[in-house]
């Protein structure tokens, strides 16, 4: 076996071991969080604070993005639907695109940057400045004080933000259709209802819930396992955003296959 082949084998082996170790550490963290759930008095008030922070803090950006997404979808649909395609289909396209895909995915990706980066940086800084060690040395659980409130706040608030994004996206698409296209209110409403199924709204919320889990768990894990000072905090923050964004896209595909397959 050549030296190059041995080196490649060594690197692959190391990467596999590192990945397995990371999975093990993540599982241990989840177990720790499960144990911390018994300390309701500790995590409940902190969860409410975190929920308020991420809910109110993200509300404006979520509405802004979803309103542009809805409007652009309407305008592009109007541009493409010429000839024999009835104009009311704009209502269908806007509603289905926003609720099934754009609302949850755009909000998920934006919040992966906004909340994921924040959580990873906060926890990473606490780790490298020994604040997490200090908490443990005082006989207190970092899981119930720091991790559970953040993950639960994500699971609670991100689906709510996605509902607002869906409503705003459809409303802005409706408004843009009326302004720029020959679409009446009746056309838009008719189009929106033609292909609408109540499950579509549930699908949007289910997706948001999974995306929230990806953002909460990944950013907390990355921040909590930070090493090596300021550089480590930077690495954790970037890692949290990239990993949770990729995970959102993977979950998006997986959930579409599982939940929307005919």
């Amino acid at each position: 076996m050549t030296a190059l082949a041995i080196q490649v084998q060594h690197r692959v082996g190391r990467a596999v071991l590192d990945t397995l170790a990371a999975v093990g550490r993540f599982a241990a963290l989840v177990v720790e969080m499960g144990r911390g759930l018994t300390e309701v008095r500790v995590w409940l008030p902190r969860t409410l604070d975190e929920s308020w922070n991420i809910g109110v803090g993200s509300f404006f950006i979520v509405l802004l993005i979803s309103s542009f997404a809805g409007a652009v979808t309407a305008l592009q649909a109007g541009y493409q639907f010429t000839g024999n395609i009835p104009i009311y289909v704009v209502g269908s396209v806007v509603t289905e695109s926003v609720v099934l895909e754009l609302g949850p995915v755009l909000v998920g990706l934006i919040l992966a940057g906004r909340i994921g980066a924040r959580y990873a940086a906060e926890l990473g800084t606490m780790r490298v400045t020994e604040q997490i060690d200090a908490l443990e040395s005082l006989g207190r659980s970092p899981a119930s004080h720091l991790l559970i409130p953040r993950v639960l706040a994500c699971l609670l608030m991100i689906p709510i933000l996605v509902i607002f994004a869906d409503v705003m996206g459809v409303a802005s698409g409706w408004f843009a259709s009326k302004q720029a296209l020959p679409v009446t209110d009746a056309d838009f409403i008719y189009g929106a209802r033609v292909f609408w199924r109540p499950f579509d709204a549930w699908y949007s919320i289910i997706k948001a819930f999974f995306f929230a889990g990806a953002i909460g768990f990944v950013s907390c894990y990355m921040g909590y396992s930070t090493k090596q000072g300021a550089e480590g905090v930077g690495r954790s923050t970037t890692g949290a955003v990239v990993t949770s964004s990729v995970l959102i896209l993977l979950l998006d595909t997986l959930l579409a296959k599982l939940l929307l397959s005919v």
Binding site: M126, T129, E130, Q131, A134, L138, G139, R140, S141
Partner: protein
Amino acid sequence: MIEITDLAKHFGAQVVLDGVTLSVKEGETMALLGPSGTGKSVLLKTIIGLIRPDRGRVVVDDLDVATLSRKALSRLRGTIGYVFQNGALFDSMNVFENVRLGLTDPDQFKDLDFARSRVADCLALVNLPAETTGKMPSELSGGMRKRVGIARAIAGRPKYVLYDEPTSGLDPVNADIIDALVKRLDTELGVTSIMVTHDVRGAFRTADRVALLTQGRIAAIGTPDDFLASEDPAVRAFLQRDFELSSTSSGGVDR
């Protein structure tokens, strides 16, 4: 009593502790000296169960730290105050909330009147004015942060206090204040202390016994007088190096 037997710890290929054996008696103040990177802080964190050893035992009050359940470890930690190198104060909490977290008894923690009174007492013990309670850690100087860290460590009336470099990064005046404070707390509260430090002068002034940790092992242990009189090459080399550093940085030492 804290008994450490044949303790070993490595991180990757780096052996940090390699068979440390040390015993700290009730009411004693032990200073742990040694060059940077010899595992002094790792030893302290192993005592409180923040780091698991690869080999050996740490026994505190007849309890083997590594084998304790989560609840038992949490209870044990309630009897140990830990002063972190840079204070490790919680950024998002003010001084009152930081020190209050040191109340490891849940009933005392919940009783706001008791907490206010105890926090005020602890801040007074470390010579900080009552107005400090409302300040955030970012508004405090390095010396004040260390003193708040000490106040938090003693708030729960611990039986043991572990100091991790309590004077590092401080100017000589502030370092002297902290050393005097450590000595006073040990005398007034009667706690058993282990102080990790680079500062030979401070160690000799505050400790009943001094241990030198080099290359992952205890190279020498004894009273400050024993140390000064020691012919052990490791002790002489460390004291000589410290003397040279002190001479160049602060104009001499008064040992």
